[in-house]
Subunit: 147 residues, 2 copies
């Protein structure tokens, strides 16, 4: 008797299945990196992913992390963010689209979504004779002092 997997938690896409489907080998380093990405809730950079990967498999190299990130990005499995001043940071794709507010003091990244803004962007591009392929909206701010 097979038990249907409970599907309550936020969606955790099966990257390995996607890789195989794309004819890409599922190697040990990729498994490790994939697991890290599946579990993480934040926006780690390549070095941070590398550090977490090391703890699982001492032999993984930073090059492979970079190569894997690029591969996953091209597959559409992750998004790359080039926030001001720092290295690229990643997050798994698959969730709803959102933009980011970066706390310039702590570096914290807060996600938000505004359908109004998304729609206005569309209208602006259209008026200029363009179709938007993708966009980038980042708010850099500091916590408002409670007074």
């Amino acid at each position: 008797m097979k038990k249907p997997a409970p599907n309550l938690a936020p969606r955790k896409p099966d990257y390995e299945k996607a890789l195989r489907k794309a004819g890409i080998r599922v190697t040990r380093p990729r498994k490790v990196i994939l697991n890290i990405l599946r579990e993480t809730e934040d926006h780690p950079d390549a070095l941070e992913i590398f550090r977490r990967a090391e703890q699982v498999d001492k032999s993984i190299s930073l090059s492979t992390v970079y190569r894997t990130m690029k591969l996953l990005e091209e597959m559409g499995a992750i998004h790359r963010h080039a926030f001001e001043g720092g290295p690229s940071r990643f997050e798994q794709a698959g969730g709803d689209h959102h933009d980011h507010l970066i706390d310039i003091e702590t570096g914290d990244v807060i996600e938000f979504r505004s359908d109004r803004i998304e729609q206005l962007q569309q209208e602006i591009a259209r008026q200029l004779g363009y179709d938007i392929v993708h966009h980038r909206l980042e708010l850099y701010g500091r916590r408002r002092r409670a007074e």
Copy 2:
């Protein structure tokens, strides 16, 4: 409706006066670079500014261009844009605030302004408990094919 065309074209501020006022020396290389920035209508990168500067003064170095750009940025005289995939590009400050649409095929940069979006950003940040210090809105698109 956003109709009235904003004054996106910057005036021609007197940078040299501003520099002297800030106790910064007005040297030959700086004069050359400043003139280029005052005249340009586009968003050149450091290398492009260097090339244009060379034509006026053969002895100028790329380092000095970079140093000058950083100086002017810190003074608030120019804005630096880190569009996707390329080196930083600059434009003189002083015009009205605007954001950019980048033609992903030609690299063209089109300026636009949406007070509605600006205001929505404010509201979003406020709701999240933040004050916006600055932001970045870039639309990447391709020209809609007229058929």
